[in-house]
């Protein structure tokens, strides 16, 4: 009986092996592995930046497109000008059609902006971009005019973040229908939006036609699984590769693209949250910056690929001040500053952080806390969920003295994007404020002359370097894994230029 049983077992194993030996079909189209598909699906106003941008940028466009230096270039808008400080006119690109055949005209653009100004639209994340808008109207078929309540120097950059939807389809389908079957002006049209997978087909009539006929965007949240899917040839592009996997991917014959991310990973040190917080004293905040060996973090956790942060901006962002050289690692100076601030024996503090947002964040915070403890700042890291972080952030209801908050520069690539968070005008709650710097920030917001504005932003960066509202740690990087057949891969501020990408043999 036993022999018979063994034979049956072997036969079953053979069958499974024979079935499994069928080769995995090589895919003829681009397969993209993303961390997550946009939670709002095809509703481009329900989110901003990652994760949506990796999928939306295939089929949506804004009026402008911001390059890595923070300069807004033409997209659906061809040219733009101020007729007065609060009036902007955009001339639209001619001949652009949505993928359902509707024409892109000034009425469509005005309708999109006016919807964001409506009661329903104001509830959307992207409505923040139009909070200073007074009106939007079509001057003629190809000219749209925006009026703002106060001068807004970065309005052209804001328009990169407002994707234009097809007005008729938007009205007919409603938010629910449109989210499932979005209609855009981009290189691709959405064929199907299923659970965890979006299939897109290239449009031959697009103003930026794609070279790859078909794309599948697949959600794969686990980093190791994404890397394995790349190495097994099932995906062509994977987003969010762990720096620890770079050598492994290269050794396996695939490629890696490393792009500077528009983000400085930081720990905020607010001065408006708790009246008795030691961090209300500038010297304590400076001491924290001197205390942490950021180079060790870069080398240890980012394989030397990232850069030590010198300020709350990345080097290519508009307004980055190259004269600000950052805080060197100097624990002795940190101790001295702490003593001057009345904390010769240090103090205890709580840092509320969200872990799992990016690769190695937990380890990074631990290294940071270790270094801080060496100079006497005993930081208790308190991991919290992102919804809790949001609630605390919106209400300034922090239990701790500090909290994790990156200096985010996308989508404008302009230092004002990050600085605005740390300003006296921050909504919904002010957690850091310096009245003197605020005057410069306000001036930069309404300064329409580019050179003068850059000078003002340099001043802001200088002042903020001295004020040290955050413990700037690392200039983040984005690591992509690419199969060998992917050509012309380009990342611009986390927007992938799919229409330029090609597939080799």
């Amino acid at each position: 009986m036993e022999k018979r049983f063994m034979k049956s077992g072997l036969a079953a194993l053979f069958c499974v092996a024979a079935l499994a030996a069928l080769p995995v079909q090589a895919q003829q189209h681009l397969r993209l592995g993303v961390v997550e598909l946009p939670p709002s699906r095809g509703n481009p106003y329900g989110g901003s930046g990652t994760p949506g941008i990796f999928t939306w940028s295939m089929f949506y466009d804004g009026l402008t497109f911001v390059d890595t230096k923070g300069v807004p270039g033409a997209a659906l808008g061809q040219t733009w000008r101020n007729s007065d400080p609060t009036t902007w006119e955009f001339k639209l690109r001619a001949g652009v059609k949505f993928d359902n055949g509707e024409a892109l005209d000034a009425e469509a653009v005005a309708a999109a902006v006016n919807w964001l100004l409506s009661e329903q639209g104001k509830a959307q994340v992207v409505a923040r971009e139009v909070s200073n808008f007074a009106s939007a109207r079509a001057v003629d078929a190809s000219t749209v005019e925006f009026k703002t309540k106060t001068p807004d120097a970065i309005l052209p950059s804001r328009m990169a973040n407002i994707f234009i939807v097809a007005p008729k389809a938007w009205k007919d389908s409603g938010l629910e229908g449109y989210s499932n079957k979005p209609v855009g002006t981009g290189s691709y049209r959405v064929e199907s939006w299923a659970a965890e997978k979006v299939v897109l087909a290239a449009r031959s009539d697009s103003w930026r036609p794609a070279k790859i006929p078909r794309v599948e965007s697949i959600s794969l949240p686990e980093r190791p699984a994404r890397t394995q899917a790349l190495l097994s040839g099932q995906l062509d592009v994977v987003i969010g590769v762990d720096t620890g996997d770079i050598q492994r991917i290269r050794a396996a014959g695939a490629e890696v693209a490393i792009a500077p991310a528009p983000q400085v990973i930081s720990l905020s040190m607010p001065n408006r949250v708790k009246p008795n917080s030691p961090f209300n004293d500038k010297r304590v905040r400076q001491a924290a910056n001197f205390a942490v060996n950021k180079k060790a973090i870069v080398d240890g956790l980012f394989e030397g690929q990232a850069q030590v942060a010198t300020q709350g901006a990345t080097p290519t962002a508009f307004g980055y001040n190259p004269n600000v050289k950052g805080y060197p690692y100097d624990p002795d100076r940190a101790k001295k500053l702490l003593a001057e601030a009345g904390h010769p024996n240090g103090f205890k503090a709580v840092a509320e952080v969200v872990v799992g947002s990016f690769a190695g964040d937990s380890e990074m915070y631990q290294l940071m806390a270790q270094d801080l403890s060496k100079v006497g700042i005993q930081v208790e890291l308190r991991p919290i969920r992102f919804p809790d972080w949001l609630r605390k952030y919106q209400s300034n209801g922090w239990d701790g003295d500090t909290f994790g908050l990156s200096w985010q520069l996308a989508p404008y690539m302009d230092v004002i994007r990050a600085v605005a968070y740390y300003s006296c005008a921050q909504r919904p709650a002010v957690f850091f404020c310096d009245e003197e710097t605020q005057k410069v920030i306000d001036a930069s917001n309404s300064e329409l002359d580019k050179a003068k504005r850059e000078k003002l932003l340099h001043q802001v960066q200088e002042r903020y370097f001295d004020l040290a509202p955050a413990l700037w740690l690392v200039e983040a990087i984005d690591v992509y894994g690419l199969s060998k057949r992917v050509r012309n891969f380009k990342d611009v501020n986390r927007t992938l230029l799919y229409h330029e990408m090609t597939l080799g043999g």
């Binding site: 995995v24 709002s40 509703n43 965890e196 699984a225 899917a229 992102f386 919904p428």
Partner: protein, 338 residues
């Protein structure tokens, strides 16, 4: 478990002493309907209890308006969102609205993407059921014969070693098994796809992963039960009557051994629909577990409520089917029923 048997009534006609027992024919339909009615009432009570508990527990996890508004959301925006989704209403009012709609199987729309919450759940059900079905089958195909084999002669060296291996397997997390399988069969050998539901080949690794942490439990239970059964008097009697080892094992010992394992298998199936999250994440399997986790993280209450509602129905059905299987394989229960 024995409700069906308990409710069954048998009448022995007067003056028919020693004659065959006759079952009343007319009340059979009524009895069955009564049983169905009882089950439906039980299910409704369960759904009411689960939904109510979940409704209030979810409200303790946070404010969905904060998530929807994002980090740039101000008080005005938060108020707008709360008004749009009825989150500004008193909790008791929200609860009654929820109950009223839930009765109509309407859980509202996802807060994240405006899709029908129950629609999102149904979108995932086919793939979830595929995984449940295949993993369940794999579990049975592995654990029943292997458990019987291990339990039939547990003192042999080879089986002792195999039993130790099974014991070790029980402690290996499914996460590790999944990644190892992908490394070997997708990355190195390139035999199997590891992402999504792409047809039969793509089912093998997720199903094996699930089976890898479920089968060892069932296998050990069957093995122990078979070993015990093989020492019973009825086996000795059957052996004395000339029954072959194969007949002893498969026809007699295994049947008895399955009694204890059936409850475990039933519980595992109940768990599978929403609980194989690790497998779903690793293999990009668009299942219900992943939808639930994402929805809990983003405080998408309608979707969580719809998913839990459907899972509760599934779990209840699985438990009912387990009862039926018990009756099918246990002659004592059948006699009790008759």
């Amino acid at each position: 478990m024995t409700d069906i048997a308990k409710d069954a009534k048998v009448a022995v006609p007067a003056g028919a002493a020693g004659s065959e027992r006759q079952v009343e024919t007319i009340p059979v339909f009524r009895r069955t309907m009564d049983q169905v009615k009882n089950r439906v009432i039980e299910l409704l009570c369960l759904l009411f209890f689960v939904s109510t508990l979940l409704f209030f527990l979810l409200r303790l996890t946070g404010d969905p308006a904060a998530v929807l508004a994002g980090e740039t959301g101000d008080q005005e925006q938060l108020a707008l969102i709360r008004r749009q989704y009825g989150l500004d209403q008193p909790l008791w009012y929200q609860y009654f609205v929820f109950l009223f709609k839930a009765i109509q199987f309407d859980f509202g729309n996802s807060l994240a993407n405006a899709q029908s919450a129950i629609g999102l759940v149904f979108e995932r059900l086919p793939t979830s059921f595929t995984l449940v079905g295949i993993a369940f089958t794999a579990n049975l195909l592995i654990s029943i014969p292997a458990g019987a084999w291990l339990g039939s002669r547990p003192d042999r060296t080879g089986r002792k070693l195999a039993a130790t291996a099974v014991f070790v397997m029980q402690g290996i997390p499914g996460y590790i098994v999944g990644l190892l399988l992908i490394q070997v069969f997708a990355v190195e050998l390139r035999w199997l796809p590891s992402i999504g539901n792409q047809g039969p080949l793509s089912w093998i690794m997720p199903a094996t992963t699930v089976a890898s942490f479920q089968a060892p439990h069932v296998l050990r239970v069957i093995s122990a039960n078979v070993a015990e059964a093989m020492r019973e008097d009825y086996i000795r009697t059957a052996r004395a009557n000339g029954a072959s080892f194969s007949v002893l094992l498969w026809r007699h010992a295994l049947k008895n051994a399955m009694l204890g394992a059936t409850a475990l298998i039933g519980a595992q199936v109940s768990f599978l629909l929403g609980g194989s999250i690790i497998t779903e994440v690793i293999f990009a399997w668009p299942g219900l577990g992943r939808l639930m986790v994402t929805s809990v993280q983003t405080l998408d209450f309608p979707v969580v409520q719809a998913a839990v509602f459907v899972i509760a129905i599934f779990v209840y059905t699985a438990i009912m089917l387990t009862d039926v299987v018990f009756i099918m394989i246990d002659p004592r229960l059948r006699r009790q029923r008759a």
